[in-house]
């Protein structure tokens, strides 16, 4: 049970891999939900010494206690469990501001959390191409409404209602790393009120 399968899509849609331990002077591992298992898996593959330089940041979401004690007992130099990404983000920024080249970044779990953590790393000059990602768990998307610019988190249907302006939006696969979000566009602009029934996002 490794990678999540996604349908073939356009080139701007992120592609996720499988985390592999890499050489580095320090290791930052950030995960939410089922991504906890991906961290356990990559640590299991790592050499001795990896954990001495590792910092794990975990947001359990609906996995609740499933991974918390397993991650805490790994013996990483630092291990933090937080209630939400918003709660964890200032810690992530602090870690990145202190880090030096040689840091390896591992992200796992939902697209929303991986995308936002990736954006924090990019903002301090870390090339996104060197960040490893592995999708686990929910296929919910973080969506930007192209009209009002508001972000709607955890979107699981297409179409959906923008949580800010209330327009009916369809879910595009076009993705912005800078916004860490997919694009939502008004679905009934040419035929107001004609909104298809929402279907679950694949």
């Amino acid at each position: 049970m490794a990678k999540t399968e996604f349908p073939k899509s356009i080139i701007s849609r992120p592609v996720y891999g499988e985390l592999e331990p890499r050489n580095g002077t320090s290791h930052l591992l950030i995960a939410d939900g089922e991504g906890g298992q991906a961290i356990l898996d990559v640590v299991a593959k790592a050499d001795d010494g990896f954990l001495d330089r590792a910092h794990i940041i975990f947001i359990p979401k609906d996995t609740k206690e499933k991974y918390v004690s397993k991650l805490e007992s790994l013996g990483a130099k630092q291990c933090y469990t937080g209630p939400s990404y918003e709660a964890a983000v200032s810690r992530i920024r602090r870690v990145l501001s202190d880090a030096s080249n040689g840091l390896q970044i591992y992200l796992a779990g939902s697209e929303g959390v991986m995308g936002q953590a990736q954006r924090e790393a990019m903002n301090v000059g870390y090339p996104f191409q060197s960040i490893q990602t592995e999708h686990r768990g929910s296929k919910a998307r973080r969506m930007q409404c192209v009209h009002c610019k508001g972000i709607t988190e955890d979107v699981i249907t297409d179409p959906f209602v923008c949580s800010h302006c209330g327009l009916n939006l369809f879910v595009r696969d076009h993705y912005s790393r800078r916004l860490a979000a997919f694009q939502g566009v008004c679905i009934d602009a040419e035929d107001p009120g004609n909104v298809p029934d929402p279907v679950e996002i694949l």
Partner: protein, 347 residues
């Protein structure tokens, strides 16, 4: 050859129109009776005096009104002009390029006097007369890219070149064919073109990128692109799609000739010397079907191109629902006669 600048609108009452002189120089984009994506790049060197291909940055009768429309868009939504922090040098490159070229090509309209880094810029049509210090943004009312592109027709994508790719890291985008700078800023060449159907599979973008990465200083290139727009609406942005999308349903057999516009983009590419970046101006020209079909060759050809266009492209370009009505109108101008090769109407 003084230009008489028109006072007209691209929204609301839509008073925009082309004079007969403007139609003669309209960049009709089809050189044969069918269309498919191609890299179709050529050197941006002067062709036929008076044509839109003659000067580096074409200025026409719509200049002053287009700039007023841009200012309105920016007042409503400042995110249409953005520049990531490392792009200021590119902005100065662009400002220099446009000022030098416009002053050379239109000395009666634009003047540039340079004494070291003390520059004096006069833009007569817009009534601008500014003295500033080159490379010192605090001496301009806006950043260098915004300053000069508020005075130049067309959208501007300012690209950083690195990692064997081009990155859209700055831009001024208010006359776009339905794409969002705010969303696409920071993307590379393949990513911002991701939604375009068919062309990736044909390897178009791989070849186009190779070409663009090697564009040399002083040797710009150009190509044409096109789509269809109902009403002479410059700002067909995704941001405002929920407002303008409905206009597509106002087309009737009676008004299609006046309301349906062919929208042509003259895309040019210039190397920016100080930053080693690239600027990609996208200049939009609009003409209604009625004006286009006054040229018999263009009328015949446009009918055939629209008729035979693959469904994916008609969908992507947003006129699939209106295609039957457009074809019904255009068919009256197609007598089946042969058309001559090339884009020029009279050849």
């Amino acid at each position: 050859m003084g230009i008489e600048f028109k006072k007209e609108t691209f929204r609301g009452d839509y008073t925009f129109s082309n004079s007969p002189e403007a139609m003669k120089r309209f960049p009709f984009p089809f050189d044969k009776d069918s269309y498919m994506y191609a890299v179709n790049m050529e050197p941006h060197t002067p062709v036929r005096e008076g044509s839109v291909y003659y000067n580096s940055f074409d200025v026409d009768e719509h200049y002053v009104s287009e700039m007023a429309d841009r200012a309105m868009v920016l007042d409503e939504d400042p995110l249409r002009c953005q520049s990531l922090p490392h792009m200021e040098l590119h902005g100065w490159d662009l400002l220099e390029l446009i000022m030098v070229e416009k002053a050379k090509d239109y000395p009666d309209l634009f003047q540039l006097t340079r004494d070291g880094d003390k520059w004096h810029w006069v833009n007569k049509p817009l009534g601008i007369d500014d003295k500033f210090t080159f490379m010192d943004a605090s001496t301009l009312p806006y950043g260098p890219m915004e300053y000069i592109t508020r005075q130049t027709q067309g959208d501007f994508c300012v690209l950083d070149q690195r990692e064997d790719n081009l990155w859209m890291d700055a831009g001024m985008v208010t006359t776009q064919a339905d794409w969002s700078l705010d969303f696409d800023i920071g993307m590379n060449f393949f990513e911002w073109h991701a939604p375009v159907p068919l062309a990736h599979e044909k390897g178009i973008f791989v070849r186009a990128l190779k070409f663009l990465l090697n564009i040399q200083q002083g040797a710009p290139a150009r190509r044409l692109n096109w789509t269809m727009t109902v009403n002479p609406l410059l700002d067909t942005s995704p941001e405002n799609y929920h407002k303008w999308g409905i206009q597509k349903t106002t087309l009737t057999p009676e008004n299609v000739g006046k309301k349906q516009h062919l929208r042509v983009e003259l895309q040019t590419f210039f190397r920016l010397p100080r930053s080693n970046g690239l600027v990609f101006p996208i200049r939009c020209y609009l003409a209604c079907l009625e004006d286009i079909t006054k040229f018999p060759k263009w009328g015949r050809r446009l009918h055939r191109v629209i008729r035979d266009l693959p469904e994916e492209l008609a969908t992507y370009k947003g006129f699939i629902d209106n295609r039957p009505m457009i074809l019904e109108y255009l068919s009256q101008f197609d007598d089946g006669a042969e058309t001559s090769p090339g884009v020029w109407p009279e050849d």
